[in-house]
Subunit: 205 residues, 4 copies
């Protein structure tokens, strides 16, 4: 497992730096995780309060199902670690990526009253796992933001459990959570959803 952790930490770091370059991890916001082991659950996660443009693989933490650090680090995991754990367990995801972009923030507010954003008719949708046609209708649920991380984790878990076809979820005024079977797929899902949110956001109403 130690080798897996090193390999995954390295991959997590380079993806975090790439997404930082897109402007989706501004300040020290956003976080990424990937499953290292499932039984018991071990998750590689980015640390809290670090500029992702300067992240190094040595800073990646290993946490357990209760979000406790089991690697040799004396820092704090992200407060949002429980949200990653819940998405991994509820959806069997291998990696989870949380981004803050201009367009995901905007649309999470504009469509909050609808409970979600519908994205339909785009070829780009075919890059999402199990989607075979541009006629697919992707429903990105929007949930209210909260500082009570346990209640937010329950709400996310419940929402992603009920929306089995969704490839992501928006937190109002907060950002996007997306996931995939592994890190490259999670990265692809984030790029696709961010692209489509910008297209929807710029479309005339």
């Amino acid at each position: 497992m130690a080798d897996d952790f090193l390999r995954i930490a390295s991959s997590l770091t380079s993806i975090a730096r790439a997404l930082h370059g897109r402007g989706w991890l501004v300040g020290t916001s956003g976080n990424l995780s990937a499953v290292v082991d499932r039984d018991p659950l071990r998750l590689a996660v980015t640390p809290s309060g670090v500029d992702k443009g300067e992240l190094t693989a040595a800073q990646i933490l290993l946490i357990d199902e209760q979000s406790r650090i089991v690697s040799d680090h004396r820092v704090k995991p992200s407060d949002e670690s429980p949200l990653h754990v819940r998405i991994v367990k509820e959806r069997g995801a291998g990696a989870v990526i949380h981004t803050h972009s201009i367009w995901n923030t905007l649309l999470s507010n504009i469509h909050a009253g609808d409970g979600g954003v519908a994205i339909e008719g785009y070829e780009m949708l075919k890059g999402l796992q199990h989607v075979k046609t541009h006629q697919h209708r992707e429903w990105l649920p929007i949930i209210e933001n909260s500082q009570d991380m346990l209640s937010l984790a329950d709400n996310i878990s419940d929402t992603v459990g009920k929306n089995k076809d969704a490839h992501g979820i928006l937190l109002r005024g907060h950002g996007l959570y997306s996931w995939g079977s592994d890190l490259p797929q999670a990265k692809r899902h984030v790029e696709i959803l961010e692209f489509l949110l910008e297209v929807v956001g710029r479309s005339p109403v």
Copy 2:
């Protein structure tokens, strides 16, 4: 021909990486091709499902007129390879580039009812082959998207055959196909059309 293939594969790769940097090949979308031989037809094409930001020349495939792989690769060519073959044959193009950008996606929807987008009065048009004045009127036809690749190939072939002056074609909700006599010209055409689509898209109506 082997030397030509290596040279073209290298050029294809560096252009794919450059266009990826512009955000026009998001996720694993988009594909590029270039003619290596015309008789019989041999086309160098990007593989399916690969992040173009990490593409290497060794991954470039060689296909024949039926989109069968004739190079030593055990992967899948892009489902859209037949579209490249048809444009090469119908227009005598030496290279074809297919991009997914925010603005080409937006305008392919907004102008779908008109059957195309007219671009006129811009100096930038003079960068397109055979265009001598900004007064040129470029008509980019828009066709409906489809998952039936043979029917889509027929539709594209028919449309580019009927629009001999067009330097590109839009697929609704999908993206832009452009081409040129060689790779540098195809790249130039893509950059110019993407620039002009953004100008048109931002112009007050």
Copy 3:
């Protein structure tokens, strides 16, 4: 102190180059400073009229409380150095960053009549010092621009003194001043405020 100055000059330079890459220090605009010593006050500041994309650590000046150069440089400090000194003294800041961005310029005009911009309800706000919830209401005061630097310094000093919770201040048609306890925090505050100003600016009214 000489060592501190070298270390801070190096950090100032790399942050200036990073912010230049974001397009917030266009032309030779913008300036950055960091406290090297407090008693007597010694401030490391970027020089006037230099392209921040080409800034080197050797060009960073050391000034005193009266904005006089005390390092071995025969150039001019920024005319806006007194503004940095006043913010450092009024707020106990360890670093001050002044940016000119498209969105901070736009919003400083649009909201000038309101005397400021309110930003509320965004998770991203939690990246600002002492902010614990997205429900925080950040009030960015807007003051009129002036070429009388002493009067402008008085106005800024007065405004940041009266708005103890503000993490930044807008000068109308001019740009954003933000600050932090040290350079990394000031950089984080700038990135967060620029992000949120763009979100507010793109939000439907």
Copy 4:
């Protein structure tokens, strides 16, 4: 003069590459020039039809007052070389930069009926030569585009002669010409004018 030419060609190349990175020299569009000698006039200019992202100093041409190549190159100078020569002569400029950006193209159309764009009240204006206050009103004249380069050169020469305070001129649907006493100043003027055109273009009307 040979040494001057090499030095200027190198500077011209690195500035061209930087502006290409901003998206202002798309396709093979745009051109830059700098005075090497004034009597007789010798101008270093970028060649025609070259991707500025791949420009090398060895490709920079030396031309005379009639836009004839006097360096050892067997290529074509830009068709727009006479426009550079005229601006140099009319304004005593040491360098001229011509860019095609989204925002300069848009505003050259939107404000064509007014004969120009007024930019007033921005601190950023102070980065333009001889401007001492944000209250300065910069008037960027707009002239009609033409494929008759001699007539266009006359029109430009006449317009910049009549507008002695202008730091640039827009050609409708075509782009921006700006200039300065040397290359760094011309680059600064371009960056400032492009920034301000985007601010004006995004401002609510």
